[in-house]
Amino acid sequence: MKPTNIEDPNYFHKVVDCQWACPAHTDVPRYIRMIAQGRFTDAYMVNRESNIFPGILGRVCDRPCEPACRRNRVEDKAVAICRLKRVAADHRDDITDRLPKIPTKKNGFKVALIGAGCASLAVANDLLPLGYDITIFEALNTTGGLMRTNIPQFRLPPETLDEEIQYILDMGADLKLNYRINSFNEFLDKREFDAVFVGTGAPKGKELDLPGRFESNNVHIGIEWLESVAFEHVESIGKKVLIIGVGNTAMDCCRSSLRIGAKEVKVMARKPRGFFKASEWELEDAEEENIEIIVNHSPKAFVVENQKLVGMLFEEMEYQIDDKGNIDRGKVIREKIICCDDVILAIGQDNAFPWIERDIGIDFDKWDCPVVDETTMMSSREGVFFGGDAAFGPKNIIWGVAHGHEAAISIHKYCSKEDLNHRLPPGMNLASQKMGMHEWSFSNDYDESERRLMPHVDLKERFKQLDIEVELGFTLEQTVTEVERCLNCDIQTVFTANLCIECDACIDICPVDCLTITDNDDEDILRSKLTIPAENIKQDLYVSEALPQTAKVMVKDEDLCVHCSLCAERCPTGAWDMQKSTILLPYAKDDLISNVASKTSNN
């Protein structure tokens, strides 16, 4: 193999599994160390830089970082990254003076954001400090999109939402509530704006058109029903409720039902466990509330008597799962009616753009989704950008934010008449963390503690009101323990081949056997002949230049390194060093054009 190019920022970025997995690339280990030092406000601001809503995301983020966490591979449970984010948000001081200063002189460009969900808000957050004139058009009488209308208050308190959205609105966005755009053609024809961002989400819940569907008023579409509950249009539900589907929407529907009168809630899953769409933690939280999840039941018909729903007919299924974990289509073993008063359908969302005419230069694909460039977020019509659920179908908040950042860069370039594809690459700083012979700037000792569990409001208490937040947040003791579980994956082992005398000290001390000195070879062969073969091909090998004494190479399998620094401590020549990699992600503000972009100088 060729020597690894560690100057490519992506190489070390990938080693920071959580940051790499995070759509917005939040610098997780950095903020965790700040929390460890009691610097909650700093930790909050590190988060805000990339994910904008640390308080919101510290509660309800989909957390793709956690399954990626190295700790899963080293033992079995990820660092509670998301919970720690909330710790930063809960204990921060006032941050208003740390927010970007908004120029009093605008740059002359006007940008419209349609929808006031997370994606649009992210665009506003990035463009307002650059002097853009931003107008947000929102159909409802409130901001936040699905974060407010669908994520229940017992998971995400409205105060948290308000506070973090307000930071952005206070930067000077012109918010037009109760303003639904009904014809995009008309809107664009007015040519009031230099660029338009569509952040209108994926607002349509999927239908389940089975016999009896429209014969009663007791079958509800999950996301519509949750919105009605949020706005208190719906304040009760029957005693027995069936939820169809087992994704995250289903979890919110079942738990909400329990809070407005349901006594017996069953979540009906078509497939067995392991094939559920809901996140592990959402399932756990629902089951803690005694929600019953019934597997292998495929809905067949609604049973309606005298225009009243009395039950639902299911086919009980049996599946074969092969060794690769693939499931077959299943066969029906019997039919069964389950009694109920209400059914909530939570089987997915679709995009819907009835307000976008199909002849205005915005191409739609065969699923009726707009064609959007994954890098620039621009549609086929110049100056019209998409992001969040509206761009590529339903995702989550952190993806919406990530799209917003990218769209902001594009809008900024577009207004300045720059090539949208000519984007700043990510950068990286490397800095040694050595403080003394055996001292490092970070806590390098491996902490064996297990993942801390989030304390919850008592089961009896929490149902009394719809808006009692269930999760209490980590205690001080839990925080102190949890921060030490982080393996500081951003503190990289950096190797200088010409210093190595091949004494093997690093290899012998490494607790997880990730180092080997061997003859160079092709990647497959190298992987197979390491101290312990490197079978996880998703993780890179770090291959050195030829070593001075034998021309062999030092190979590190990045997979399980716990960043304990022992290799660097044991190295007599300093060939290994522990260096912090800071990944520098470009935002709209980092484009040099930010200084010159203004309507007068460009037109």
Partner: protein, 351 residues
Amino acid sequence: MSYIGKPKISHPKATKNSIGLTKRDYEGVVSTLCAGCGHDSVTAAIIQAVFELDIKPHTLGKMSGIGCSSKTPAYFVSQSHGFNSVHGRMPSVTTGANAANRDLTYIGVSGDGDSLSIGMGQFAHVIRRNLNMTYIIENNGVYGLTKGQYSASADIGSKAKKGPANQQKPIDPVSMGIALGATFVARGFSGDKEQLVPLIKSAIRHKGFGLLDIISPCVTFNDNKESTKSYSHVRKFYHQVIDTDFVPPAQEIKAKYKKGEAMPIYLHDGSKIVFRRVDEQYDPTDRAGAYAYLRESIKKQEVTTGLLYIDKECDDMHEIAQTSDCPLSKIPYDELAPGSEELANIMNRFR
């Protein structure tokens, strides 16, 4: 020396041996030697060897004298027996231990100072006894622990980090071992575990005295350019005459050897050592030949490595002394010490 201990986690794919232990179960406390010391690599090779031999930790006796090298038994197999004796006296203490309990596996770790200066007499006599043990000399050409004075193995003209070059003739433990009649004599290098681990395994399984001279550079006092015991010098003059593969009992020989080149020697427990000649003319069972070869290679300044001599037929101390098969330590006290009356009877027989 590190401030933190080695974390107690290990690679989830780390293999277990036939008694269910991982390599990490054979570790000791964290080393307090200088970072990069060859001795730490030898420790790692010993750990690998006893792990691969499925040795039960409590059946191992770790013996040593004084020196950086002699400190190392603390760094492997914590759950075993050990005796850190006085300077140069490890051979007699091991003789005593082995006399009392012949069932343990003894690994003695010594240094060039410990064995070739103060302990020279003991070293010669333990060879004569053919004590069943593995005797490792971690050879760095200096007294590391006392800050780098030349030891008896330093070559003429070799220069340590400080002071003038050594002018006295070196003692080569390997030639001396062969001359004194050691039944297993090998040389290895701390920087070549591929060769070292099978050598240690073979020495442990050899019934009798297994001498292993391991060049093990002292990074702090004797790893400079002008030293003949530095990592770079040893690598440059490295000459492996014979390739050694240890094959445990009941396991087929897997490695492919060219016909005529491969030469298996069966040990008493059914395991075999498979030699592959790197140097055509070398025969590790020919004592005079081996000795002559070594004298020649010393002239050429080569660092000759491999299993250089083996005689597996010679009786060990217990066989020579015709002691009981049952370890003395396991014989009930009444039987072992028949009492003062019986002693008087015995004494009377000599009057």
